[in-house]
C-alpha cells in the first residue's frame, strides 16, 4: 500500500497529485509548484476554470492533460465569468433536482495578466454578484506565456520585453498594481496573499478560500526563473526572500480585518532579493535605494491596516 499522505509533524499532505506529472512548465517553475500545492489543498471535489497563460498551455497540449480534476479553459479574460456560470449552473441544477446535492468547490485560476489587466472587469463583476467561488491569481509579474511582456503587476524597476531597461528607462516605470486591495474593495469575505515557499500557509489559505461562503481571492507570488532570469534551483529561496524583504508580505483580509501571517522583526534589505534576478540587474545603487523606500512605505501602510483591524 502506498502512503496516502506525507506527514510534516502534525500536518498531513496528500501524496495524490491532482496535477499529473508530464506537464511542460519550464524547469524550476514557481507557478507549477504553487499550482501543485494549491491542487493538493483543493482536493478532488472541485471544478477549475483556467485563463489562457502558462498554466493552461503547460497542462493541456491536446491530446494530453495534466488535470485529474474537472477543468475548463475557454479564453484569456473571461475566467471569472466562466466560473460564475459553473457555479450558477451547479446551484440551479441542484435546486431543480436535476443533480444530487453535493459540495463542489468552484475555482478560477489565472495569471497576473489574466487577473489584473484583461480579466479585471469579469473578475470585478463576479465578485460584485457574490458568486461562491475562489479566484487564485498566480502572479509571476508579467505576461510570461507570450514572452515576458510587462503587466500592471510587474514591479517598478523590473525589465521586461515591452518595458525594457535602457539608456532612458529603468524598465517598469509604474508601481505594481495592488490587486489584493482591489479584490478587498469588493468587500468579499476572504482575501489573502501566499507564496509557494511558504507551503503550508499557501495550502491553508487556498483551503480557507475554497470553503468560505461567498467569493474569495488568493494572490500567489509565483517566481518564474525564465522571466525573472534567475537560476532554476533558486525558486523557493527567491520566494522566501520576497517575503523576508517585505516586497511581498503574507497577509489575510478576513471580513475586512487585516492580519500579517509572517512579520519578521526586521526586514532584510531589498537588494538581497533583487540581486539574484536578471530582470533587476541594470539597477544602480540609487535606484535600489528608491525601491527600498517604496517597499518600506508599502509595508508601513500595510502594518497600519493591520493595527487598525480589531483582533
Amino acid at each position: 500500500m502506498k502512503a496516502q499522505a506525507v506527514k510534516f509533524g502534525e500536518k498531513l499532505v496528500p501524496t495524490k497529485e491532482f496535477l499529473a506529472e508530464g506537464h511542460s512548465f519550464c524547469i524550476g517553475c514557481g507557478e507549477a509548484l504553487a499550482l501543485r500545492l494549491a491542487c493538493k489543498a483543493l482536493g478532488k471535489d472541485v471544478i477549475i476554470a483556467n485563463a489562457t497563460g502558462c498554466i493552461e498551455i503547460c497542462t493541456s497540449p491536446l491530446p494530453f492533460t495534466s488535470w485529474r480534476v474537472p477543468w475548463i479553459h475557454t479564453l484569456f479574460e473571461n475566467t471569472a465569468a466562466v466560473i460564475s456560470g459553473v457555479e450558477a449552473g451547479l446551484k440551479t441544477l441542484t435546486k431543480k433536482n436535476k443533480r444530487p446535492v453535493r459540495d463542489i468547490k468552484c475555482v478560477a485560476i489565472a495569471g497576473d495578466g489574466g487577473t489584473s489587466d484583461i480579466g479585471i472587469q469579469a473578475l470585478s463583476g463576479a465578485f460584485e454578484r457574490n458568486h461562491e467561488f475562489l479566484y487564485i491569481c498566480f502572479d509571476n509579474e508579467a505576461y510570461m506565456n507570450t514572452g515576458v511582456q510587462r503587466s500592471s503587476a510587474t514591479p517598478y524597476g523590473a525589465s521586461t520585453t515591452t518595458a525594457p531597461a535602457g539608456k532612458f528607462s529603468i524598465g517598469q516605470i509604474t508601481r505594481k498594481k495592488n490587486m489584493v486591495a482591489i479584490a478587498a474593495a469588493h468587500d468579499i469575505p476572504y482575501v489573502a496573499t501566499a507564496c509557494p515557499s511558504y507551503r503550508f500557509d499557501l495550502m491553508k489559505k487556498v483551503r480557507k478560500g475554497a470553503e468560505v461562503k461567498g467569493p474569495a481571492y488568493v494572490h500567489i507570488l509565483s517566481p518564474c526563473p525564465t522571466g525573472w532570469r534567475y537560476s532554476t534551483e533558486l525558486t523557493v529561496k527567491i520566494g522566501q526572500l520576497a517575503v523576508q524583504t517585505g516586497i511581498f508580505p503574507l497577509y489575510e483580509i478576513e471580513n475586512g480585518r487585516y492580519r500579517l501571517n509572517a512579520d519578521p522583526p526586521k526586514l532584510k534589505p531589498i537588494e538581497e532579493y533583487l540581486k539574484l534576478q536578471g530582470r533587476y540587474r541594470h539597477l544602480t545603487g540609487e535606484q535600489i535605494e528608491r525601491i527600498q523606500e517604496m517597499v518600506n512605505e508599502d509595508y508601513a501602510k500595510l502594518k497600519k491596516k493591520v493595527a487598525a483591524s480589531p483582533m
Binding site: E17, A20, G28, A32, P63, S66
Partner: protein, 95 residues
C-alpha cells in the same frame, strides 16, 4: 502521438476524457543535471518532495523520497533546499 490522430479520433469539442494522461509524457529528457540522493544523509523530511514543481519526487517503500527520472527536469530545487545537503546535482551524461 498527436500527429497520429485523425479528425475521427477526437472527442466532441476536443474534450479529453482520460484524466491526467500527461503522465505518459516524458519530461526527463529536458534535463542537463540530475539529482543524486545520499541516503546516509537523508533524514526523510520530505521537503524535496513538497517543493518539486514537477511532482517527480516520490515517496519510496523505505520512506525515502526519490526522483523519478522519467519526469525530473533537473531544476535543482531539491538539492538547494535540502537542509542536510543530501542531494547533489551532477551533470547528465551524453546519451
Amino acid at each position: 502521438m498527436a500527429d497520429e490522430l485523425t479528425w475521427k479520433d477526437l472527442e466532441v469539442g476536443n474534450i479529453i476524457k482520460e484524466a491526467g494522461n500527461a503522465s505518459f509524457r516524458e519530461t526527463g529528457d529536458w534535463r542537463t543535471e540530475k539529482p543524486i540522493l545520499d541516503k546516509e544523509k537523508c533524514v526523510k523530511c520530505a521537503l524535496c518532495w513538497i517543493y518539486c514543481p514537477d511532482a517527480a519526487i516520490k515517496p519510496s517503500e523505505e520512506g525515502y523520497y526519490e526522483s523519478d527520472l522519467y519526469y525530473c527536469k533537473g531544476c535543482g530545487i531539491c538539492a538547494s533546499i535540502c537542509p542536510e545537503r543530501a542531494i547533489t546535482m551532477i551533470a547528465e551524461e551524453e546519451k
